[in-house]
Amino acid sequence: MGARSQEFSAGAIAILPVLIATAPVAVLFGTLAVVKGLSPFEVWLMSATVFAGALQFVAIDQWADPAPLGLLVFTALVVNVRHVLMTASLGRSMTGFSGPTKYVAMFFLSDEAWAFAERRVREAGLTPAYYFGIGVSMWLVWTSSCLLGAVIGRGLGDPSAYGFNFAFSAVFICILVGFWSNWRTGVVLACSGAVSATVHLLVPGAWYIMAGAFAGVGVAAALHAEIDEQKTDGVMPS
Protein backbone atom coordinates (compact mmCIF):
# COMPACT_ATOMS: atom_id res chain seq x y z
CA MET A 1 0.00 0.00 0.00
CA GLY A 2 1.17 3.51 -0.77
CA ALA A 3 1.48 6.18 1.87
CA ARG A 4 -1.74 7.82 0.70
CA SER A 5 -3.92 4.73 0.87
CA GLN A 6 -2.38 3.92 4.25
CA GLU A 7 -3.40 7.36 5.53
CA PHE A 8 -6.86 6.99 3.98
CA SER A 9 -7.36 3.61 5.72
CA ALA A 10 -6.03 5.01 9.00
CA GLY A 11 -8.68 7.74 8.87
CA ALA A 12 -11.46 5.32 7.98
CA ILE A 13 -10.43 2.92 10.77
CA ALA A 14 -10.18 5.71 13.34
CA ILE A 15 -13.74 6.86 12.59
CA LEU A 16 -15.18 3.31 12.54
CA PRO A 17 -16.78 3.46 16.03
CA VAL A 18 -18.55 6.66 14.98
CA LEU A 19 -19.77 5.03 11.77
CA ILE A 20 -21.35 2.21 13.78
CA ALA A 21 -23.14 4.72 16.00
CA THR A 22 -24.15 6.88 13.03
CA ALA A 23 -25.93 4.20 11.01
CA PRO A 24 -29.00 3.73 13.29
CA VAL A 25 -29.37 7.51 13.68
CA ALA A 26 -29.30 7.92 9.89
CA VAL A 27 -31.88 5.15 9.49
CA LEU A 28 -34.10 7.04 11.95
CA PHE A 29 -33.67 10.22 9.90
CA GLY A 30 -34.75 8.38 6.76
CA THR A 31 -37.90 7.06 8.40
CA LEU A 32 -38.85 10.48 9.86
CA ALA A 33 -38.27 12.23 6.53
CA VAL A 34 -40.50 9.80 4.65
CA VAL A 35 -43.25 10.30 7.23
CA LYS A 36 -42.97 14.07 6.56
CA GLY A 37 -43.63 13.45 2.87
CA LEU A 38 -40.20 13.34 1.25
CA SER A 39 -39.58 10.67 -1.36
CA PRO A 40 -36.68 8.25 -0.75
CA PHE A 41 -34.75 9.97 -3.55
CA GLU A 42 -35.22 13.36 -1.89
CA VAL A 43 -34.06 11.87 1.42
CA TRP A 44 -30.93 10.53 -0.26
CA LEU A 45 -30.32 13.82 -2.10
CA MET A 46 -30.64 15.89 1.06
CA SER A 47 -28.31 13.56 2.99
CA ALA A 48 -25.78 13.54 0.14
CA THR A 49 -25.66 17.30 -0.45
CA VAL A 50 -26.53 18.89 2.91
CA PHE A 51 -24.71 16.11 4.80
CA ALA A 52 -25.38 17.55 8.26
CA GLY A 53 -26.89 15.30 10.92
CA ALA A 54 -28.16 17.85 13.44
CA LEU A 55 -29.42 20.27 10.79
CA GLN A 56 -31.25 17.55 8.86
CA PHE A 57 -33.18 16.55 11.98
CA VAL A 58 -34.09 20.18 12.74
CA ALA A 59 -35.05 20.80 9.10
CA ILE A 60 -37.24 17.72 8.85
CA ASP A 61 -38.91 18.71 12.12
CA GLN A 62 -39.92 22.04 10.54
CA TRP A 63 -40.81 20.46 7.21
CA ALA A 64 -44.36 21.06 5.98
CA ASP A 65 -46.10 21.11 2.61
CA PRO A 66 -44.98 23.49 1.16
CA ALA A 67 -41.77 23.62 3.19
CA PRO A 68 -40.96 27.07 4.71
CA LEU A 69 -38.01 28.10 2.54
CA GLY A 70 -36.81 31.20 4.38
CA LEU A 71 -37.07 29.56 7.78
CA LEU A 72 -35.15 26.48 6.66
CA VAL A 73 -32.29 28.46 5.08
CA PHE A 74 -32.05 30.65 8.19
CA THR A 75 -32.06 27.52 10.36
CA ALA A 76 -29.25 26.06 8.24
CA LEU A 77 -27.13 29.17 8.84
CA VAL A 78 -27.80 29.25 12.59
CA VAL A 79 -27.35 25.53 13.22
CA ASN A 80 -24.16 25.37 11.13
CA VAL A 81 -22.49 28.62 12.15
CA ARG A 82 -20.36 26.56 14.55
CA HIS A 83 -18.62 25.18 11.45
CA VAL A 84 -17.16 28.64 10.80
CA LEU A 85 -15.28 28.28 14.09
CA MET A 86 -14.31 24.68 13.36
CA THR A 87 -12.92 25.38 9.89
CA ALA A 88 -11.22 28.59 11.05
CA SER A 89 -9.37 26.47 13.59
CA LEU A 90 -8.71 23.42 11.40
CA GLY A 91 -7.82 25.56 8.37
CA ARG A 92 -4.63 26.63 10.15
CA SER A 93 -3.47 23.01 10.19
CA MET A 94 -4.41 22.16 6.58
CA THR A 95 -1.09 23.24 5.10
CA GLY A 96 -0.82 20.04 3.06
CA PHE A 97 -4.10 20.77 1.25
CA SER A 98 -4.14 22.58 -2.09
CA GLY A 99 -6.71 25.39 -2.48
CA PRO A 100 -9.43 23.37 -4.28
CA THR A 101 -8.80 20.26 -2.13
CA LYS A 102 -9.38 22.36 0.98
CA TYR A 103 -12.86 23.35 -0.19
CA VAL A 104 -13.77 19.80 -1.22
CA ALA A 105 -12.61 18.77 2.26
CA MET A 106 -14.94 21.37 3.82
CA PHE A 107 -17.90 19.77 2.08
CA PHE A 108 -17.22 16.59 4.07
CA LEU A 109 -16.95 18.42 7.38
CA SER A 110 -19.05 17.23 10.29
CA ASP A 111 -18.59 17.72 14.04
CA GLU A 112 -17.16 14.22 14.28
CA ALA A 113 -14.85 14.55 11.25
CA TRP A 114 -13.60 17.87 12.60
CA ALA A 115 -12.93 16.47 16.08
CA PHE A 116 -11.01 13.50 14.67
CA ALA A 117 -9.05 15.78 12.32
CA GLU A 118 -8.04 18.11 15.18
CA ARG A 119 -6.93 15.07 17.17
CA ARG A 120 -4.83 13.87 14.22
CA VAL A 121 -3.26 17.34 13.97
CA ARG A 122 -1.94 16.92 17.52
CA GLU A 123 -0.82 13.33 17.12
CA ALA A 124 0.78 13.09 13.69
CA GLY A 125 -0.21 16.04 11.50
CA LEU A 126 -3.18 15.98 9.14
CA THR A 127 -2.81 14.75 5.56
CA PRO A 128 -5.56 15.13 2.94
CA ALA A 129 -5.74 11.32 2.57
CA TYR A 130 -6.39 10.82 6.30
CA TYR A 131 -9.04 13.54 6.29
CA PHE A 132 -10.83 12.06 3.28
CA GLY A 133 -10.61 8.61 4.86
CA ILE A 134 -12.75 10.04 7.67
CA GLY A 135 -15.00 12.23 5.51
CA VAL A 136 -15.75 9.89 2.62
CA SER A 137 -16.49 6.88 4.85
CA MET A 138 -18.85 9.02 6.94
CA TRP A 139 -20.55 10.28 3.80
CA LEU A 140 -21.03 6.74 2.45
CA VAL A 141 -22.46 5.42 5.73
CA TRP A 142 -24.67 8.48 6.32
CA THR A 143 -26.19 8.59 2.82
CA SER A 144 -26.72 4.84 2.46
CA SER A 145 -28.23 4.52 5.97
CA CYS A 146 -30.56 7.50 5.42
CA LEU A 147 -31.73 5.92 2.18
CA LEU A 148 -32.15 2.56 3.90
CA GLY A 149 -34.35 4.19 6.55
CA ALA A 150 -36.42 5.91 3.88
CA VAL A 151 -36.98 2.64 2.01
CA ILE A 152 -37.64 0.23 4.87
CA GLY A 153 -39.63 2.74 6.92
CA ARG A 154 -40.29 2.35 10.61
CA GLY A 155 -38.46 -0.86 11.37
CA LEU A 156 -35.89 -0.35 14.07
CA GLY A 157 -37.64 1.82 16.61
CA ASP A 158 -36.04 4.81 18.29
CA PRO A 159 -32.19 4.57 18.51
CA SER A 160 -32.20 6.84 21.57
CA ALA A 161 -33.91 4.03 23.50
CA TYR A 162 -30.64 2.10 23.11
CA GLY A 163 -28.49 5.11 24.03
CA PHE A 164 -27.29 5.72 20.46
CA ASN A 165 -27.78 9.48 20.72
CA PHE A 166 -25.38 9.49 23.66
CA ALA A 167 -22.73 7.66 21.60
CA PHE A 168 -21.79 10.98 19.94
CA SER A 169 -21.40 12.68 23.31
CA ALA A 170 -19.12 9.80 24.36
CA VAL A 171 -17.01 10.32 21.22
CA PHE A 172 -16.63 14.03 21.91
CA ILE A 173 -15.79 13.44 25.59
CA CYS A 174 -13.22 10.84 24.58
CA ILE A 175 -11.51 13.24 22.18
CA LEU A 176 -11.65 16.06 24.76
CA VAL A 177 -9.87 13.85 27.30
CA GLY A 178 -7.05 13.47 24.76
CA PHE A 179 -6.90 17.26 24.26
CA TRP A 180 -6.01 17.88 27.92
CA SER A 181 -2.61 19.56 28.29
CA ASN A 182 -2.57 21.69 31.47
CA TRP A 183 -4.75 23.63 33.94
CA ARG A 184 -5.59 26.18 31.26
CA THR A 185 -7.38 23.42 29.32
CA GLY A 186 -9.52 22.90 32.42
CA VAL A 187 -10.41 26.60 32.66
CA VAL A 188 -11.39 26.74 28.97
CA LEU A 189 -13.38 23.53 29.35
CA ALA A 190 -15.21 24.71 32.47
CA CYS A 191 -16.13 28.13 31.02
CA SER A 192 -17.22 26.72 27.69
CA GLY A 193 -19.22 23.89 29.27
CA ALA A 194 -20.95 26.07 31.88
CA VAL A 195 -21.94 28.78 29.39
CA SER A 196 -23.02 26.26 26.74
CA ALA A 197 -25.21 24.28 29.17
CA THR A 198 -26.74 27.45 30.64
CA VAL A 199 -27.54 29.00 27.25
CA HIS A 200 -28.93 25.66 26.08
CA LEU A 201 -31.41 25.74 28.97
CA LEU A 202 -32.38 29.40 28.53
CA VAL A 203 -32.25 30.14 24.77
CA PRO A 204 -34.07 28.10 22.12
CA GLY A 205 -32.17 27.01 19.03
CA ALA A 206 -28.50 26.21 18.48
CA TRP A 207 -26.96 29.41 19.89
CA TYR A 208 -25.50 27.57 22.87
CA ILE A 209 -22.59 26.27 20.79
CA MET A 210 -21.44 29.75 19.75
CA ALA A 211 -21.98 31.12 23.27
CA GLY A 212 -19.96 28.34 24.90
CA ALA A 213 -17.25 28.46 22.25
CA PHE A 214 -16.74 32.22 22.61
CA ALA A 215 -16.69 31.93 26.41
CA GLY A 216 -13.93 29.31 26.20
CA VAL A 217 -11.91 31.14 23.55
CA GLY A 218 -12.37 34.44 25.43
CA VAL A 219 -11.04 33.06 28.68
CA ALA A 220 -8.06 31.53 26.84
CA ALA A 221 -7.23 34.94 25.35
CA ALA A 222 -7.65 36.59 28.77
CA LEU A 223 -5.34 34.04 30.41
CA HIS A 224 -2.73 34.66 27.75
CA ALA A 225 -2.94 38.44 28.18
CA GLU A 226 -2.41 37.88 31.91
CA ILE A 227 0.75 35.87 31.25
CA ASP A 228 2.06 38.59 28.93
CA GLU A 229 1.64 41.15 31.73
CA GLN A 230 3.44 38.87 34.19
CA LYS A 231 6.33 38.49 31.75
CA THR A 232 6.79 42.26 31.47
CA ASP A 233 6.80 42.39 35.29
CA GLY A 234 9.66 39.90 35.27
CA VAL A 235 7.60 37.03 36.71
CA MET A 236 7.94 33.67 35.02
CA PRO A 237 4.68 32.19 33.79
CA SER A 238 3.83 28.82 35.31
Binding site: L45, R82, T87, A88, A115, I173, G212, A213
Partner: protein, 100 residues
Protein backbone atom coordinates in the same frame (compact mmCIF):
# COMPACT_ATOMS: atom_id res chain seq x y z
CA UNK B 1 -39.17 8.26 -7.52
CA UNK B 2 -40.64 11.73 -7.07
CA UNK B 3 -38.91 14.84 -8.34
CA UNK B 4 -40.44 17.94 -6.83
CA UNK B 5 -38.90 21.17 -8.18
CA UNK B 6 -39.70 23.14 -5.05
CA UNK B 7 -38.18 20.53 -2.73
CA UNK B 8 -35.14 20.23 -5.02
CA UNK B 9 -34.43 23.96 -4.95
CA UNK B 10 -34.98 24.02 -1.19
CA UNK B 11 -32.46 21.21 -0.67
CA UNK B 12 -30.03 23.08 -2.94
CA UNK B 13 -30.40 26.33 -0.95
CA UNK B 14 -29.92 24.56 2.39
CA UNK B 15 -26.85 22.83 0.90
CA UNK B 16 -25.39 26.20 -0.14
CA UNK B 17 -26.07 27.72 3.29
CA UNK B 18 -24.42 24.73 4.96
CA UNK B 19 -21.39 24.81 2.67
CA UNK B 20 -21.02 28.58 3.14
CA UNK B 21 -20.63 28.03 6.88
CA UNK B 22 -18.13 25.19 6.38
CA UNK B 23 -15.98 27.05 3.89
CA UNK B 24 -16.43 30.35 5.75
CA UNK B 25 -13.87 29.71 8.46
CA UNK B 26 -11.18 28.71 5.98
CA UNK B 27 -11.88 31.76 3.78
CA UNK B 28 -11.71 34.15 6.73
CA UNK B 29 -8.51 32.61 8.05
CA UNK B 30 -6.72 32.20 4.71
CA UNK B 31 -4.94 35.56 4.90
CA UNK B 32 -5.13 36.34 8.60
CA UNK B 33 -1.93 37.17 10.49
CA UNK B 34 -2.51 36.42 14.16
CA UNK B 35 -0.89 38.16 17.11
CA UNK B 36 0.06 36.19 20.26
CA UNK B 37 -3.29 36.64 22.03
CA UNK B 38 -5.29 35.68 18.93
CA UNK B 39 -3.03 32.66 18.51
CA UNK B 40 -3.74 31.62 22.09
CA UNK B 41 -7.46 32.04 21.43
CA UNK B 42 -7.24 29.89 18.29
CA UNK B 43 -5.27 27.20 20.06
CA UNK B 44 -8.08 26.97 22.62
CA UNK B 45 -10.76 26.74 19.94
CA UNK B 46 -10.89 22.95 19.51
CA UNK B 47 -11.43 22.42 23.25
CA UNK B 48 -13.86 25.35 23.54
CA UNK B 49 -16.01 24.38 20.53
CA UNK B 50 -16.03 20.67 21.27
CA UNK B 51 -16.99 21.28 24.90
CA UNK B 52 -19.76 23.64 23.81
CA UNK B 53 -21.13 20.99 21.43
CA UNK B 54 -21.05 18.17 23.99
CA UNK B 55 -21.80 19.85 27.33
CA UNK B 56 -25.63 20.19 27.12
CA UNK B 57 -26.08 16.49 26.24
CA UNK B 58 -24.11 15.47 29.34
CA UNK B 59 -25.20 18.21 31.76
CA UNK B 60 -28.79 19.19 30.98
CA UNK B 61 -30.56 15.97 29.93
CA UNK B 62 -30.83 14.38 33.36
CA UNK B 63 -28.96 12.24 35.85
CA UNK B 64 -28.48 9.13 33.61
CA UNK B 65 -26.74 11.26 30.95
CA UNK B 66 -24.63 13.08 33.57
CA UNK B 67 -23.48 9.78 35.09
CA UNK B 68 -22.74 8.36 31.63
CA UNK B 69 -20.74 11.50 30.79
CA UNK B 70 -18.66 11.07 33.95
CA UNK B 71 -18.18 7.38 33.12
CA UNK B 72 -16.98 8.36 29.62
CA UNK B 73 -14.38 10.72 31.12
CA UNK B 74 -13.04 8.08 33.52
CA UNK B 75 -13.00 5.22 30.99
CA UNK B 76 -11.67 7.58 28.30
CA UNK B 77 -8.48 8.19 30.30
CA UNK B 78 -7.34 4.62 29.55
CA UNK B 79 -9.59 2.71 27.17
CA UNK B 80 -9.91 2.99 23.37
CA UNK B 81 -12.84 4.95 21.94
CA UNK B 82 -14.98 1.95 20.99
CA UNK B 83 -14.96 0.80 24.63
CA UNK B 84 -15.84 4.31 25.84
CA UNK B 85 -18.83 4.44 23.48
CA UNK B 86 -20.16 1.06 24.61
CA UNK B 87 -19.70 1.90 28.31
CA UNK B 88 -21.40 5.31 27.91
CA UNK B 89 -24.35 3.88 25.96
CA UNK B 90 -24.79 1.02 28.42
CA UNK B 91 -24.60 3.44 31.35
CA UNK B 92 -27.33 5.64 29.87
CA UNK B 93 -29.65 2.72 29.23
CA UNK B 94 -29.05 1.05 32.62
CA UNK B 95 -29.30 4.31 34.58
CA UNK B 96 -32.58 5.19 32.85
CA UNK B 97 -33.95 1.85 34.01
CA UNK B 98 -32.57 2.21 37.54
CA UNK B 99 -33.50 5.87 38.05
CA UNK B 100 -36.46 5.67 35.68
Amino acid sequence: MTLDAYNMSLILLVTLATFAMRAGGAVIMARAQLGPIATAAFEAMPVAVLTAVAAPAALTQGLPEAIAGAAAVIVGLRAPMAVVIVVAMATVVVMRQVLG
